[in-house]
């Protein structure tokens, strides 16, 4: 299960990066987060992605590591994006204002 950690890290990374955006904050939490929190999220997200890359490179070397990293990040970005859309649709249906 060597793939699990980098995938979870990518997922967490993209979630943090998404939540660092004003629009997502308003959609998901209902209000904008303070500047400092947003910045922390952005840094945390970037770090998580870099860490995922580090884990993979340490495990498989640069060549394979980079390729597998691209795979995990592509999929993770897709999952985060899909969930945000799903969330927004549910939200839209329950509040009937969009």
């Amino acid at each position: 299960m060597n793939h699990l950690l980098p995938f979870v890290l990518s997922l967490a990374g993209f979630t943090a990066l998404a939540l660092a955006m004003d629009r997502q904050q308003r959609d998901v939490i209902g209000r904008s987060l303070p500047r400092s929190v947003t910045r922390a999220l952005r840094i945390a997200g970037t770090c998580a992605l870099l860490l995922a890359l580090g884990v993979l490179v340490a495990w498989q070397g640069w060549g394979l590591g980079l390729v597998i990293f691209s795979g995990h990040t592509s999929l993770a970005a897709g999952v985060v994006h899909g969930s945000l859309i799903g969330y927004a649709r549910k939200y839209a249906r329950s509040t009937k204002h969009r």
Binding site: I68, S70, G71, A88
Partner: protein, 541 residues
């Protein structure tokens, strides 16, 4: 978003030109690209598919020792292909339970005749399984189609890939903004949701899509761009320098005519295993077997490195003496080797292979949503939605047949594999004919039925075929799901489960298509696509 634009007499921004370019390059070869994407995606599992399509071959519990197998196959080839100037074999691996052997049938240089056979690693004999192309059909169709000379097919694939590359670049230029705020889309209604799906699929898969398109061109670049090669090399011998950078093919020297039996191939493969790992020996090529001038090349497998560049050990056939080890090529050749490997993804472990498949499926969906969007966008502007112009109807019908119809045809190919009688002459070809017959029927159906009905009916047909395929497999072979589970045969288990997963996907699409009603319609629109106020976001899209 407005682009800063220099004054243009035509008043058309570069984004508009790029948007048009994207639309039209995407549409013109979109149907071919969709088929290439989907069959290519499936081809990542071609070895598994081949296993499934040869159910007579028992589930491989453990990969046999390749050194022993290589010797066994070499012995068998001694009778099967005696007198041939060259033999080759692809040794079995975790995904592949048979040995693909091939040999040159003609010793006249320049004349190319090949024989090939699938051999059983445990006996060396030809495998006794039904006659089928297996997963190789999708693999080959992916870049050279069928019913035409391979070179034509490859050129068509090349043109399609080039259009794809242009569509990607122009798409990126048109949609620059999307990359800036990737996570901020909203799921709109009607056209917007198609657009959003298309955008989302394109954006998060973009690195993959760009990579797979460019590397696809690279795999056949010597065919598409032979000019440098022709200018640089005047003689066959010079050209050989290039070939040596690309493949582990050793140039057969001149046979001496003196008969000397081949030294132990097992021993040679064993030496390669010592160097690259027990499971990492790929192909063995033998030139002039049985002659004093025999040479044996044992190539490194594809695991553990992202490169297809040739790496091999060369042995003197008569004595078994190691002549040399080749482990490096020039920088440009290595670049090509890496790009080639990225396209094929053969280095992948199971998880990475699945990542390839999932992202590649998103590429398929990107092309599919793009095609559908063309009609969605235009439907709203039709003067009379009941009687669209000819071009519109053509696109609409072709979309149905090439998207939903392809799912039906591909599944039908697998059905044919289980249903065609084993004794049928040209059985392997008939499986392929069935694929095309069903696909053609799908087109006829799409032409005859109203578009939405055609979509729904074909999607349901695919659902039914996929759902019942595991049942058919259980009835016609000994390898039912429960049997496979008990055996721990994950290829067959995975195949059954994937059929059902894909069946669910098709069912969801079918239900959504059937249910989709245009909202807030003032005009009567019999078809499924809505037209609401959001329609005119297109300048930006």
């Amino acid at each position: 978003m407005k682009t800063k634009q220099e004054p243009r007499p035509a008043g058309r921004g570069i984004r508009q030109s790029m948007s048009d370019l994207h639309t039209w390059t995407g549409l013109l070869l979109g149907w071919i690209l969709y088929a290439m994407f989907l069959t290519g995606t499936v081809a990542y599992f071609k070895d598994e598919l081949s296993q499934w399509m040869r159910p007579e071959l028992p589930h491989q519990v453990q990969v046999p020792d390749r050194a022993v197998v290589a010797q066994r196959i070499a012995d068998e080839l001694g009778t099967l292909a005696s007198g041939s100037p060259q033999w080759g074999m692809r040794l079995p691996d975790a995904r592949n339970n048979s040995v693909q052997a091939f040999w040159r049938t003609s010793s006249t240089p320049g004349q190319r005749g090949f024989g090939e056979a699938n051999l059983d690693p445990s006996t060396g004999r030809k495998v006794t399984s039904r006659d089928t192309l297996g997963g190789d059909f999708f693999y080959r169709f992916h870049f050279q189609f069928h019913y035409m000379p391979a070179v034509w097919g490859r050129w068509i694939a090349g043109v399609a890939a080039m259009f794809m590359l242009v569509a990607i670049v122009s798409g990126v230029i048109t949609h620059k903004k999307i990359f800036a705020d990737f996570f901020t889309f909203r799921w709109g209604k009607g056209q917007r949701s198609w657009l959003d799906a298309h955008n989302a699929l394109s954006v998060f898969g973009l690195p993959f899509h760009a990579m797979i398109t460019y590397t696809g061109l690279v795999t056949l670049m010597a065919l598409y761009m032979p000019w440098g090669e022709q200018a640089a090399f005047k003689t066959q011998a010079e050209r050989q320098q290039l070939t040596a950078e690309l493949s582990a093919f050793i140039q057969p020297g001149r046979a001496t005519g003196e008969k000397v039996p081949l030294a132990s191939v097992e021993d040679m493969v064993w030496q390669a295993q010592e160097r690259w790992g027990r499971d990492n020996v790929g192909r063995v090529t033998i030139t002039h077997p049985g002659d004093a001038a025999a040479r044996v090349a044992v190539a490194r497998g594809e695991a553990g490195r992202v490169s297809m560049s040739p790496q091999y050990m060369e042995f003197e056939g008569a004595t078994g003496r190691l002549l040399g080890i080749r482990e490096g090529v020039g920088p440009a050749a290595e670049t090509r080797g890496v790009l080639y490997a990225l396209h094929l993804g053969r280095f992948s472990d199971t998880v990475t292979r699945w990542l390839y498949v999932l992202v590649s499926l998103s590429g398929t969906a990107m092309v599919g949503t793009g095609l559908v969007m063309w009609t969605v966008k235009r439907r709203q502007k039709l003067p009379d939605p009941d009687r669209p112009y000819v071009g519109f109807r053509v696109v609409e019908r072709l979309n149905v047949a090439s998207i939903a119809g392809l799912s039906v045809a591909m599944t039908a190919f697998l059905w044919a594999n289980r249903l065609l009688p084993q004794t049928l002459a040209e059985r392997a070809s008939w499986e392929v004919h069935m694929f095309f017959i069903v696909w053609a029927l799908a087109l006829v159906h799409a032409v005859l039925r109203p578009p939405r009905k055609a979509w729904v009916e074909q999607l349901w047909t695919a659902t039914a075929l996929l759902t019942l395929l595991p049942v058919l497999n259980a009835v016609t072979t000994q390898r039912s799901l429960w049997h496979s589970l008990a055996e721990g045969d994950w290829v067959f288990v995975g195949m059954d489960l994937m059929c059902w997963a894909l069946a669910v996907l098709h069912a969801v699409l079918a239900m959504r298509t059937a249910r989709h009603r245009p909202e807030l319609q003032s005009v009567r629109r019999p078809d499924r696509q809505p037209a609401s106020g959001v329609a005119l976001r297109e300048g930006e899209a």
